[in-house]
Amino acid sequence: MTDFALAEASAARSKMVRVAALQKAVAFVVLIALVGYFTIAAPNFMTEANLVGILQATAVNGVLGVACTFVIISGGIDLSVGTLMTFCAVMCGVVLTNWGMPMPLGVVAALVFGALSGAVSGLIIAKLKVPPFIATLGMMLLLKGLALVIAQDKPIYFNDTPNFSMISNDSLVSYFWPTFEVPNGVLILFAVATLAAIVLNKSILGRYVFALGSNEEAARLSGVNVDFWKIVIYALGGLICGIAGLIIASRLNSAQPALGQGYELEAIAATVIGGTSLSGGRGTMLGTIIGAFIMSVLTNGLRIMGVAQEWQIVVTGIIIIVAVYVDMRLRRSG
């Protein structure tokens, strides 16, 4: 990468860091305010079991949000994350249940098929120049259909692999701290988010993610192999969706081929609430995780308060609009 593109990226990033810090602070304040409100308004909200429940409910959406964050900062979008997750879960089921292979191979299968499918999206976008929205919309449907065909419209159960449900449901923490049973799914979420933040901020790949998102043409002119890095970014997103596939399959002890559609919008919402700009070039992993927690705290709190479900959906919609509005205001003034 030449000096010009690097300077461009680093200027964009330092501005991004300023604004994103503010944005994260806002998102964090919203999260704290929601938790505070529900603690007062909803009896039984502030208990250990419920907080663990919220953490667990965030795992799938949070991991998908991390995948979306890479892609969206790079100036793209991935509508396929939900059904890609399901496809990976189904492939894992095929390897473990239908073929009777040992568990590590099933885990590898989910990750490999995730990365491969992501790479296919990347190829379509980079080489065939199909806009990301369309390419991943196509992949969303393609993977949904494939998951149903491969699973023959039936869920695949993991009853022959008893340890499989431990991936998400067992609690490693409780071995060290017996009273605090945080399920592994939550640990996976935090591990994925931490690793993703390191990759985004400290690696060459992370630099190129920002460079592509802030000015793709400048990056190309300075000799960056834009096509190659795009494919890598979508493949990385796919790999992370594979992790989400393992979490959901483990939690449900089954690969449910009909699930997944709709999850992409929740993941994109978490990403956007967390301050990642849909026009690319700006965003943080911490923001996305906070965004995912805002969504699950909101759903959980409104449910415990007994708010009618129709209104829960309305409130979630309002929160998304307000979050993006605040984001845009901050960007203009930042």
């Binding site: 159960y157 449901n169 939690r251 959980n300």
Partner: protein, 308 residues
């Protein structure tokens, strides 16, 4: 396996071609990717083989896609079939098309939630109100006829969702006044969403004694949620499926209502064949339901209608 799929798809394609000598009945269901619809399909195909007719079986991806289903019905009518099987997602939305079928003398047999009109010659259905009432009786009995219970339903707009909810709630109110229904939530039949809903309900009402899940996706969520919260409650479900059957066998689920999906599918095709021969049909054909639990899950007549 893949080749059989391809051949199957080809055969399906051929059978829809006009000018086919055998009688052809398109069956339009409310879905295809749930186990329940697969079982209905199996029953319909079995009857088609026995009656020597050709059928196609299709349905939209989710039960909210009323428009897609209408498109399917339009396409089916355009093929000028000898009869149509139809399970309406929205019974009023389909009426103009059903009138067209009537005008063209194409007999229509409704199934599952039926159609709000007298055009269908017969409706093959489960009495969901009655069946959910039986579920309520069992729930009351198992919790000692007093205490708090909650319900997780698949959706608030479909007739099966409404009937199962109302059947359960009304029976409780009428016959078991000391049982209080503290919450009713809707999970879209999504196992994970229903899990989170169950956990929130158990969190909000720690004293809950039992929960009723109104379809397969809902009940899997209830079972998961109760397990994750480590709560021992009485769980009652609906339909079957491998996971639910296992839960009933190991006692984590007290029992469930099963419809007779294979029977529904058979009833649709058989009734169409009878209608073509000019036989008289009952307006409503009750395909029946069973309460099943650990004690009778293996009985022949119950096991025959359960699916994996």
């Amino acid at each position: 396996m893949k080749t059989t799929y391809l051949i199957g798809a080809l055969a399906l394609g051929l059978s829809t071609a006009p000018g086919y000598a055998e009688d052809y009945f398109p069956v339009i269901s409310k879905g295809f990717q749930h186990q329940f619809w697969q079982a209905v399909k199996a029953g319909a195909e079995e009857a088609a083989k026995a009656d020597g007719v050709k059928i196609t079986f299709e349905g939209p991806e989710t039960e909210a896609m009323v428009d897609k289903q209408i498109d399917m019905l339009t396409a089916a009518l355009a093929k000028k079939p000898q009869g149509i099987g139809f399970a309406a997602l929205d019974s009023k939305a389909a009426i103009p098309l059903l009138k067209k079928a009537q005008a063209a003398n194409i007999p229509v047999i409704a199934f599952d939630s039926g159609v709000d009109s007298d055009i269908p010659l017969a409706t093959c259905t489960t009495d969901n109100l009655k069946a959910a009432g039986v579920a309520a009786d069992h729930m009351a009995e198992l919790i000692g006829d007093a205490g708090e219970v909650a319900v997780v339903v698949h959706d608030q707009t479909s007739k099966t969702g409404q009937d199962r909810r109302d059947g359960f709630v009304n029976q409780m109110k009428a016959k078991h006044p000391n049982v209080k229904i503290v919450d009713i939530q809707y999970g879209g039949g999504d196992q994970l969403k229903s899990t989170e809903i169950t956990k929130a309900i158990l969190q909000a009402h720690p004293g809950i004694k039992g929960m009723f899940g109104a379809n397969e996706g809902s009940i899997i969520g209830v079972l998961n949620g109760a397990k994750e919260m480590k709560k021992k409650i009485v769980v009652i479900g609906y339909d079957s499926g491998k996971q639910q059957k296992a839960a009933i066998a190991d006692g984590s689920e007290a029992g469930a209502i099963t419809q007779n999906p294979v029977g529904i599918g058979k009833c649709v095709v058989d009734s169409l064949a009878k209608a073509l021969k000019g036989e008289k049909l009952d307006k409503v054909i009750d395909t029946g339901f069973y309460w099943y639990d650990k004690s009778n899950i293996g009985d022949g007549k119950v096991a025959a209608v359960l699916y994996d």
